[in-house]
């Protein structure tokens, strides 16, 4: 005898209603994300964040303006989960001495090209630097640290005799960066972004990434990136009128990146506290300054807060061990900006369990990265090496918990 259909449907519907939360997926812990917003943003700021997130993740097709020469198809294609990249998408920057050799395709190698276009080849006899895409979270916090706070950490002539002589990298902002923009305007500006602190403004960094990495022109840089090694066919292959994105698209991405929160550090344990103590004791903290304070910001969530980025944003001589021997603006071939040590706790989760540390991803663990340190950090490296195995492990656990 047939049963009423409700006898079948009711238990199913009930099961869905009861288990709806987990059946319909659950949100990951926001502390473990690299692409979450800063806490305390207003609804308007969150709307801007969402719009910028969409633009950051938007891949470009050829018929949307990609190329003619490029490295990747979107911002998110280089920054895994908004964190660092992988060796497969390392960027190659090249020059000859202080000459960016723009007429030969410098300063960045675009090794991809749309159909009909020719990708660039690395010219002979150039200085080459391989750069892993860095994390993009926390940039708004780094931007809001006052120049004075960073300059106060300088010791270019090593007056205190500790063997560490960080110096600020003063650069000139691109012409399209207006004076009201942080890091913009005429005259020397404090560089704080990029592996060699060679960029002073978030806007400049993003406009240049659109232009150089994706071949996307904008209101700020409306002329297509050329491949001077190729003929007119390469330029003609691009089939979209310039500019390919508006200033508002770029501004959305700038706002998004500014409001990206760094992942929360892990809870401090007795062991990581011991590691932190050793971190200061062997002078890692002399460059990887544990905390700086932001100044004023139009975004209340950014203004006046402690930033535990473990960086001084200064250039340091890292010795032959890490040298790329390629000058970059005012930074020489041995100098690198102190890399922030945040997000390491969850970074591997976005890189298939790998670490890919240092500017060219040569280190696959924090310990390996420490052992590559030279120059001003040679003494700290030696001190690390001299620690007991247990202390070394405690220090590593501390760093990996940030």
């Amino acid at each position: 005898m047939p049963r009423r259909w409700t006898a079948y449907a009711a238990p199913i519907l009930l099961a869905f209603a009861v288990g709806c939360g987990s059946l319909m997926t659950t949100e990951p812990n926001p502390d473990d994300l690299l692409d979450g917003p800063l806490g305390g943003l207003s609804p308007g700021e969150l709307a801007a964040f969402a719009e910028g997130d969409a633009q950051f993740g938007k891949p470009f097709s050829v018929n949307e303006g990609l190329g003619p020469i490029f490295n990747n198809v979107s911002c998110a294609s280089c920054h895994s989960g908004d964190g660092r990249g992988v060796p497969e998408n390392i960027l190659v920057r090249f020059s000859r001495g202080g000459d960016l050799i723009v007429e030969e395709g410098g300063p960045q190698l675009q090794d991809k090209a749309i159909p009909g276009a020719e990708p660039e080849q690395l010219p002979a006899a150039t200085d080459v630097s391989r750069r892993l895409p860095p994390p993009v979270f926390g940039i708004g916090l780094l931007e809001a640290i006052p120049d004075t706070a960073i300059l106060a950490l300088e010791d270019p002539t090593d007056q205190d005799g500790d063997g560490i002589s960080g110096r600020a990298h003063l650069v000139t902002a691109a012409d399209f960066v207006p004076a009201h923009e942080p890091g913009g305007g005429a005259g020397p500006r404090l560089g704080r972004f990029g592996r060699k602190a060679q960029v002073s403004s978030v806007l400049e960094q993003i406009v240049t990434a659109y232009h150089q990495d994706m071949g996307i022109t904008s209101d700020f840089l409306p002329d297509e990136n050329r491949n001077p090694q190729a003929g007119d066919g390469t330029q003609a292959a691009d089939r979209v009128g310039d500019p390919e994105v508006t200033a508002s698209v770029v501004r959305a991405v700038v706002a998004y990146v500014r409001m990206l929160a760094p992942p929360a550090p892990g809870a401090m344990t007795a062991r990581t506290a011991r590691g932190q103590e050793l971190f200061s004791q062997i002078a890692c903290a002399s460059c990887h300054v544990p905390s700086l304070r932001t100044g004023a910001s139009p975004v209340p969530s950014i203004a006046g807060r402690e930033v535990a980025a473990y960086t001084d944003l200064l250039l340091h001589d890292m010795g032959d061990e890490l040298a790329d021997y390629r000058p970059d603006r005012g930074a020489d071939g041995r100098e690198w900006r102190t890399t922030p040590l945040w997000g390491l706790r969850v970074m591997k989760d976005f890189l298939n369990g790998e670490a890919f540390l240092l500017h060219d991803a040569r280190a696959r663990s924090v310990e390996e990265a420490i052992l590559y340190h030279g120059g001003e950090a040679a003494a700290s490296r030696a001190a690390f090496d001299a620690l007991s195995a247990d202390d070394r492990q405690a220090l590593l656990e501390f760093v990996e918990s940030r």
């Binding site: 199913i12 319909m24 997926t25 895994s80 090209a113 298939n352």
Partner: protein
């Protein structure tokens, strides 16, 4: 003919079909007036509600609508209602040997209208028949038989839609036929078609995606593709093998060679079987796309995917007064790897459905799907979809 008059003609035909004096609603059982089925079950010539309107013109259609609640990583992506498609089809027996089949599809609330099928069949003999027009490409079984009321899930298989571009129809010309033997039926289809075009690279921001290159109404590169399917069907079982090969890019222009010729090659194995009341339906595909060397690492050259539906109908006659009513329980397992050369860029999904059929032609579908997609870094995102849909022939 421009699209607008064509649409108007279809609408008129539909209105006429709703007039009781002229429309003769026809059940599946009384479809005997239609020609014997030559395509796959559920295909172009196996529509239960094809009914005569203007003499020899038979008209039918189907509609699919659903409510969807979709979340990804705990965030609501979609919560609303959608009319997936409203399709109308006709069959015209011009003469004993000549039949014209057509299907017009309205999707996205009417924003997307396309002529999905407009084929002329000329029967020379059962084993040799000529076909021309806008053809459903025989790349797998699903592309040939995909009506919502026939299938147990509100969503179409990812392998068919996102990998191959179903529903995939293009202008073409070729032969088809069937051979009946003691052990079963052997059918074949072989056509020259316009083929995929370079939109699969140029219009797709996500890497190589065949659906972005499926619309090729006038052969963009003046280089037809070949597509075919052979199927063997013993009793209660059908096994099909499809193949496709053709250039997708413009490599000759004004008599000059302007690029290297680059091909798309596809192989699909499909199966339909009924064992002890359990219906199995599925297909698996391998795709090879030749890409320019300057796009290696950006665009995939090797892709694959499959789906397998398992369903069983039970509780027949459970609604009093509706002898044809029944419930169907169904499970689908599916996966697509959009780039076989890297770990990520893939999607996997497990779906379950409990459907109420008031008749063979009308179904209410309650479905749940749980999926995992991976980006090119191999980062995973979880998604889940709850859907309640309705599909019916008319």
């Amino acid at each position: 003919m421009t699209p607008r008059p064509a649409i108007a003609a279809w609408i008129l035909a539909t209105l006429a079909a709703t007039v009781p004096a002229t429309a003769r609603a026809q059940s599946a059982d009384s479809a005997a007036a239609a020609p014997a089925h030559r395509g796959v079950p559920g295909g172009y010539d196996d529509k239960p509600y094809l009914a005569g309107v203007f003499g020899r013109i038979l008209v039918g259609g189907y509609v699919e609508a659903q409510g969807v609640y979709e979340r990804a990583d705990g965030v609501t992506e979609e919560f609303g209602f959608v009319v997936e498609r409203w399709n109308i089809f006709t069959s015209t027996q011009v003469s004993p040997a000549v039949t014209v089949w057509a299907e017009l599809e309205f999707e996205e609330g009417g924003e997307e209208v396309r002529l999905e099928l407009a084929q002329v069949d000329i029967r020379l003999r059962e084993s040799i028949q000529v076909r021309a027009g806008m053809l459903l490409l025989p790349i797998g079984r699903f592309n040939l038989a995909h009506d919502g009321p026939r299938h147990e899930f509100t969503a179409r298989p990812i392998e068919a839609t996102d990998l191959l571009g179903a529903t995939l129809s293009q202008p073409g010309l070729g032969l088809f036929g069937r051979f009946e033997g003691a052990r079963g039926v052997l059918t074949y289809e072989a056509y020259g078609v316009n083929g995929y075009m370079d939109g699969l690279l140029l219009d797709s921001p996500d890497g190589t995606r065949l659906p972005a290159g499926r619309t090729n109404v006038e052969d963009q590169n003046a280089s037809p593709a070949l597509v075919g399917r052979v199927a063997f069907a013993p009793r209660g079982f059908e096994l099909g093998l499809s193949g496709y090969h053709g250039a997708y890019n413009v490599y000759r222009l004004d008599g000059m060679t302007v690029d290297d010729r680059r091909d798309v090659s596809i192989g699909v194995l499909d199966v339909q079987a009924r064992v002890a009341g359990v219906v199995l339906l599925g297909e698996g595909s391998l795709v090879d796309v030749e890409i320019p060397s300057a796009l290696v690492g950006i665009n995939a050259s090797r892709q694959s995917g499959f789906y397998l539906d398992v369903s069983r109908r039970f509780a027949r006659g459970l609604i009093g007064g509706l002898a044809a009513s029944s419930l169907t329980a169904a499970v689908r397992l599916e996966a697509v790897d959009f780039d076989r050369d890297i770990a990520g860029d893939s999607v996997q999904r497990l779906s379950a459905a409990l459907n109420l059929r008031t008749s063979d032609e009308t179904v209410i579908k309650l479905g749940y799907a749980r999926g995992r997609s991976r980006d090119r870094f191999n980062n995973a995102a979880e998604d889940a979809t709850l859907s309640l849909g309705l599909a019916t022939y008319f």
